[in-house]
Amino acid sequence: MTSTLPRPTDAELEILAVLWSIGPATVRQVYEVISRRRTAQYSTILKFMQIMAEKGLVVRNQDQRAHVYAPTKPREWTQQQLAGHLLERAFNGSAKALLVGALSASRASREELAAMQKMLDEYRKERK
């Protein structure tokens, strides 16, 4: 099942983003976060989340009276799936040229990460 997990649609991705952000949540909680950004219908979001549960994108915990939904896969996994998708890669890759931010568009290598860590550790030792 894991490998055949469908690619989330835009609406589903929005719900997933909320679940990643606030953790496992009820439909009501998801609705509240989404409606802060745009007008949304509670019933629509409920419907979407039921479909997502059927697809296997989220799991439903029915222990409590209000069902709590959680993403099946952690965000890193889904993001990597999305980022690996050809279309997504093309879009994200070209968007990077227009964005400004704290980190550069290209990822640091393992050696660089290690070098950074070493530098930070040494700095801390010097200060102590």
């Binding site: 983003a17 976060v33 093309a90 070209s94 964005l99 704290a102 980190l103 990822r107 990460l113």
Partner: protein, 493 residues
């Protein structure tokens, strides 16, 4: 003619081609001066401004050169050797070893390639814009209230009047600023979890510093310049310098406000560690490593920097002077700036007119090259005098040839003018070269000229002009050749 051929033959294409060539040395000079400046300037902000100005200077030089070299269509007579067949080809071979001619031939093709490249680059640019607007909307959700309040606090502190929104994104890979008028900060969802409040503040501060400095707008403009001058290594180098100094500027703002370089450096390293995309295989220039080093150990410039800078400036200056000097009379082969017809300058418009109008059809390529190499007006006057004397049928007496030449030009201007001056029309061209035809057949929209004998071509040459538009714009009919064709096949009306 096919569209591409028309394009290649147009004066605009030649102008663009030469502009591209000139921009190469212009860029080299600008880049070396910037290189020296970057070594001398102490603050990231000053270096950033210098790099931006350098890019602007390159763009300005390019535009000015283009405006100067690509006059509006129809001011020159570039199609002289193209629309009119055979008779000039012999003369043309004389000067073909001259590098300037070779460049002139290649220039329109360079222009064509450049246009294709720009089209491609702007295509990529629009794709990027679409992606960005997608990123604004897709897979985003509101960030926790605490952060949004933090953003409000920090924007107030940096005196930003625009409202800044903060969203979490399921698609963004790194913290990102989008938009200039309605700036939006995108945080990769869950990315800030696990960072201390001080660290979160420093990262948000960095993004807000970008907004404060209008970096998104500048970056967009910068991309446009890159798309326009994509072929130029100097542009990419300058652009990379701008990007680097931009991050340094924001880092400086963060440290000056938070006063915690170590916390900030750790936050950057942690963010990089948490990126969901897999680690790069090859080192990406190690820019973050250098930035973190810069944060932890703010360095003073090496004592050698001013010397290196001075050396770069001296070498650049020497190269410019050498290039200038090589332009002088005898050899323009090594000149950085080739002598073009335009470089005669406005002070010598009369000579320009003489070369490109009065004797345009009768001067041969060797003479033209020789004339263009002249540097003083005395030399040019002398040249013109000798030019006519060489053609004087009875040397020493009043020059019948010259008189006839000017009479033909006057006649052509009087009788053949249409959208363009008479001397530049096809009929004018032939009239000025060969004089009045021996026989003339005139039809509506068509004229057939017959010459009994044309020097160097043969007997009984017929030339057909067709006015396909009906506006008196007679053109040499396609396929007309002045090759000797006795007996000339009579065209039926």
């Amino acid at each position: 003619m096919k569209p591409i051929e028309i394009l290649i033959a147009s004066p605009a294409a030649a102008g663009i081609g030469w502009t591209l060539l000139h921009s190469l040395w212009q860029g080299a000079i600008v880049a070396s001066v910037l290189g020296a400046m970057l070594l001398m300037l102490r603050t990231a902000r000053a270096r950033y401004v210098a790099a931006c100005l350098a890019l602007l200077a390159l763009l300005t030089l390019f535009t000015l050169t283009l405006l100067r070299l690509a006059p509006e269509t129809g001011q020159k007579i570039p199609e002289r050797h193209r629309t009119v067949p055979v008779w000039n080809t012999v003369a043309q071979d004389v000067g073909s070893s001259d590098w300037k001619l070779n460049v002139s031939a290649a220039a329109p093709w360079a222009a064509l390639l450049w246009m294709a490249g720009v089209l491609l680059m702007f295509g990529r640019y629009s794709l990027s814009s679409i992606s960005v607007s997608r990123l604004r909307r897709r897979g985003v959700c509101c960030a926790p209230d605490a952060w949004q309040r933090e953003v409000e606090k920090l924007t107030a502190r940096l005196r930003i009047s625009k409202p800044v929104r903060l969203l979490e994104s399921g698609l963004a890979d790194v913290p990102t600023v989008i938009g200039h008028l309605r700036p939006l900060i995108l945080m990769p969802v869950g990315m800030l979890a696990g960072l201390s409040p001080t660290q979160i503040e420093s990262i948000l501060l960095h993004e807000i510093a970008h907004i404060r400095r209008h970096d998104y707008l500048v970056n967009t403009l910068q991309r446009c310049v890159e798309a326009l001058l994509f072929y130029h290594p100097a542009v990419w180098w300058i652009s990379a310098a701008i990007r680097k100094e931009r991050e340094h500027c924001c880092d400086d703002i963060v440290v000056s406000i938070s006063g915690e370089p170590h916390e900030y450096a750790r936050a950057l390293a942690a963010l990089e560690q948490n990126r969901f995309s897999p680690a790069a295989v090859a080192a990406a220039g190690g820019s973050l490593v250098k930035r973190i080093h810069r944060l932890l150990y703010p360095k003073t410039r090496g004592a050698w920097a001013p010397f290196v800078a001075a050396m770069i400036l001296v070498l650049t200056g020497a190269a410019v002077v050498a290039g200038w000097a090589a332009k002088s009379p005898q050899s323009d082969a090594g000149a950085k700036q080739p002598v073009t017809e335009e470089s005669l300058g406005p002070y010598s418009n009369a000579y320009y007119k003489w070369l490109n109008e009065d004797v345009a059809y009768i001067i041969d390529q060797a003479e033209r090259t020789a004339f263009l190499a002249l540097t003083t007006n005395e030399e040019r006057d002398k040249f013109i005098e000798q030019f006519w004397e060489r053609r004087n049928p009875t040397p020493g007496t009043p020059n019948k040839f010259k008189e006839e030449q000017y009479r033909r030009i006057a006649y052509a201007n009087e009788h053949f003018a249409s959208a363009v001056p008479g001397w530049r029309t096809d009929r004018g061209h032939i009239y000025i070269l060969y004089g009045p035809p021996d026989e003339l057949e005139v039809y509506p929209r068509k004229e057939i000229w017959l010459y009994r004998h044309v020097e160097g071509i043969g007997d009984n040459a017929t030339i057909t002009f067709v006015d396909s538009s009906g506006r008196g714009d007679f053109r040499l009919s396609p396929g007309t050749s002045l090759a000797p064709t006795p007996p000339a096949p009579k065209e039926k009306p």
